[in-house]
Symmetry: none
Subunit: 535 residues, 2 copies
């Protein structure tokens, strides 16, 4: 099997994405995960552009990564010499084993952006690559805008690559910097270039046409041996090619070898971990690793997958560390609920209890509950029905007050709850009524369950169910909660948004507390993830 | 130029997406937008599966769409006759001009999921298509799992298509139902099938391998003339092929004709509108239409695009109705605001006032306001700035209390407002805090402005703007209000959901009152619609 090199640039190009900002500490954590996944190159940053990246490279030396740590920079400035180029000096001083140098191959860019001559640009490429090679680094030439350049002036674009090769570049990476090229064009151009240049070719695609993954695969089919991309496709504008989709496509569908089967099975957890660190919500529908990637909603689909998963799944989800989920919704039938219970190890089997639970869920859905986005509420319902839960606390009453005056806005909540035989009565402020309730409830519970401090609410959505009379209509509140590792969702429905929020809030905390309670019974479980369904 | 037919299934397959739930009213609104965009087929739902879809088809007849409205269903049940098949009867009674019938073409599915014989499945296909043709509908055959089926048993898969063709199918749509097929396979199989079947071929792709857009383009290059997909790629698991990326790729890059240039320029607003209705946050990095799709962050990139946008943009963003963003600021283009003011007959012209309004709007957008879905709030802002409004009432303070006890849930609101020189102090109950506020505000105002009794709130949506800390984060509330004829939308933003709701509520009522005030001055205007923007 042919090996394809994975080149990850989450820590460099990924941070150009809107809303993505990583500290040196974040980058070190992500580098360790990428290394465990089996990525071959980890581009850590641009040491010539900021001190944070210099710090990262300094501290990364202690990580003993198997992957080659790579530093990014530009070819030298026009009309200068490499020895005096601060950017190139930072590269060779970074301690990274490899250097990626980006250079121009599109004549239009040489004239318009660089504002220099075609000859000087070639000299910049050749001298800069020779410089990093002389300093003992592996050298990777990033041929910026290569495909646009090749379409405009193929002779010049190829001349730039040959210059890089002549200077000792170990890899020639063809970049579709603006993301506008189509897969068939990529395939043709890579084939032609592979013949003309006879070097190790890589591909660096962007997703502006929603084709970055396809473009990367087309380049590999045409002879590229290195694929550059980022975890979850983070990157400028529409993002870089998503390695999280490229890797399983190459390995499971095209027969290339990239990482071991055990490493591939880490894919889902790595994608979610990087999302957590970057503080970006992972789309539920993200291919391979999203929470809904193997979720089945339609009743016909569900009854078919119960017969054979292959009927509606393109791969076995376990191969990438994901799992099948059956969504319970108005569109689905009874078979969904039974299989959901099986998934949780609960026996709703053939007893009368099963009928009662199913009727209860149908009744709730009729009232406007939606469990497909609220797995944790559904699990609580099923566990309650199976006698698999204990009462952690009981709510006696709550009250909120919000007052707007010239002094501003004030929100307070009072809750009265009972934990075993003790009555707890607390008051708290908040940024709004739901935040105040959340604060008051935690304040009441934290003395009994200190682990509650690790949980935070990560999303809050309100939807009106019946539009005919909006502020008097029923609303559905969906709350997503997270601790450091896991995420779970709960639902509440009421004509009162406060009551619906409260219901979802209480479910969220009950779910977490029950998970913790189970973990205490299980001596080998760690304290930060235990018992919570990872979904 | 070859024309490619756009077949939109947002209203059917799109609603299989996790968290996507549309009312009949939502579907009607989306259908109108799709029609304006120039989509050729609008698949509205499955009238055999639920009454909501029957209602949609009944009401959609009054929309006078240019697009062909299409109803979805399955081939008849095994061992039965079409005339007694409730699902097929619902199709022909739906009033839709075209019917999409999904049928099996993968022998494995016939055996495992349908559990019938290969012969009976062919009979089901042929008889069902002939049945809808006999009832005067255009017939579209959705060949489920066609690519998997063709790989497993090409003779049988093709036999199924020929059966459909023989029965009179107008289109044969090849479905990659599980989303696992690669673009090169799609291209090869579509070419072979086009030769063997000689029919109008369509393509229906899913995004499980992050290749749905590429697969669709590969099918078109191989001869497909119809592309099926959804707005923003909504759909089961990882979603359907994203029409919002496919359309500009076909039209701007591959030279096919789908819609007019004016319609293509609506793409961004249609994508965002559908996202709003579905209450799904549009990813900032969504190709072509995302807020960051043409945003430039890197310093080198920014200096290059200031020299020539083409340096880092694959197309001119205006072609798809998007815009370049250079700075971090959110901003609506100044020209939009000026042209909006002109539309309202307000002169923001070349005076200093214009600069002040634009800065104010930019500042509000930066805080999280979004005026795209809140025309009435934007109009108020512009009219206030032009001195075109009078103060109808002033809010001094308000207070809400919600209490949950064994007696149930009670919500009360107290408002203090001033109308001219009179202080009005009212209290009201409601089904929730916002409803109580709404009731108290109306109670205070109705004695001065009796017309307010005709207005009701028709939608209420809440969205968290910053996911980092959900219940303490900023929220944006969008309120839609209606009287008998018109609908208008307003927005409020605050870290307190009550304050944000109040802001949108006050805007809604001010907007209505100002409209009414104008109508009293205008003798030929009727009292129920005047001055309200119908959108």
């Amino acid at each position: 099997m042919t090996t394809i090199n994975l080149f990850d640039t989450t820590l460099r190009d990924g941070t150009q994405g809107e809303g993505i900002s990583l500290t040196a500490e974040d980058k070190l954590k992500i580098a360790l995960k990428l290394d465990a996944l089996g990525v071959h190159y980890i581009e850590g940053g641009n040491p010539g552009s900021n001190s944070k990246d210099i710090e990262f490279f300094r501290r990364a030396r202690e990580l003993n990564l198997s992957a080659k740590l790579t530093a990014f920079g530009s070819t030298r400035r026009k009309n200068s010499v490499c020895e005096q180029d601060a950017n190139l000096r930072h590269l060779i001083e970074s301690g990274a084993r490899a250097a990626t140098l980006v250079g121009k191959t599109w004549d239009f860019h040489v004239h318009t952006a660089l504002q220099t001559t075609l000859e000087e640009n070639l000299a910049m490429i050749g001298e800069s690559l020779a410089f990093v090679k002389r300093h003992g680094m592996e050298a990777i030439f990033d041929a910026e805008h290569f495909f646009d350049g090749y379409k405009a002036n193929p002779e010049y674009a190829v001349a730039a690559l040959l210059k890089a090769k002549e200077a000792g570049a170990d890899w020639i990476v063809l970049c579709d910097t603006n993301g506008g090229t189509l897969p068939n064009e990529i395939g043709e151009i890579v084939s032609e270039v592979a013949l003309k240049v006879q070097a190790n070719i890589g591909i660096h695609a962007h997703n502006d046409s929603e084709l970055a993954v396809a473009n990367t695969l087309a380049a590999v089919a045409a002879g590229a041996k290195q694929v550059q991309g980022t975890i979850n496709g983070y990157g400028e504008r529409c993002g870089n090619a998503n390695l999280v989709s490229i890797l399983p496509n190459l390995q499971l569908k095209m027969g290339y070898e990239c990482v071991s089967a055990e490493q591939l099975a880490m894919l889902t957890s790595v994608a979610r971990y990087v999302g957590e660190i970057a503080n970006v919500h992972l789309p539920v529908n993200q291919p391979y690793v999203g929470n809904a990637a193997f979720a089945h909603k339609g009743g016909i689909h569900v009854s078919a997958i119960l017969k054979d998963s292959k009927t509606y799944e393109h791969i076995a989800p376990e191969l990438v560390g994901n799992k099948q989920r059956v969504l319970v919704s108005e569109l689905a039938g009874q078979s969904n609920i039974v299989s959901k219970a099986q998934e949780l190890g609960l026996d709703l089997g053939a007893n009368a209890n099963s009928r009662v639970v199913i009727d209860r869920i149908k009744e709730l859905e009729h009232q406007g509950y939606q469990f497909e986005g609220a797995d944790a509420s559904l699990e609580l319902l099923l566990r309650d029905a199976s006698g698999d839960t204990v009462e952690m606390f009981a709510v006696e009453s709550f009250k909120i007050m919000c007052e707007k005056s010239t002094a501003g806005m004030l929100s307070e909540a009072i809750v009265r709850i009972r934990v075993e035989d003790r009555l707890v009565y607390t008051v708290a402020e908040g940024n709004g009524p739901v935040n105040a309730l959340d604060n008051a409830l935690r304040k009441a519970l934290v003395q009994f369950y200190p682990g509650i401090a690790d949980i935070h609410l990560s999303d809050y959505k309100v939807r009106v169910l019946d539009e005919k009379d909006a502020t008097a209509a029923k609303v559905r509140v969906l709350i997503e909660s997270s601790n450091f590792k896991d995420t779970w969702s709960t639902v509440g429905v009421s004509s009162n948004v406060i009551e619906a929020s409260w219901e979802a809030l209480v479910d969220s905390i009950r779910y977490a507390l029950l998970g913790m309670a189970r973990s205490e019974l299980s001596p080998d479980a760690s304290t930060d993830s235990v018992g919570l369904v990872n979904h």
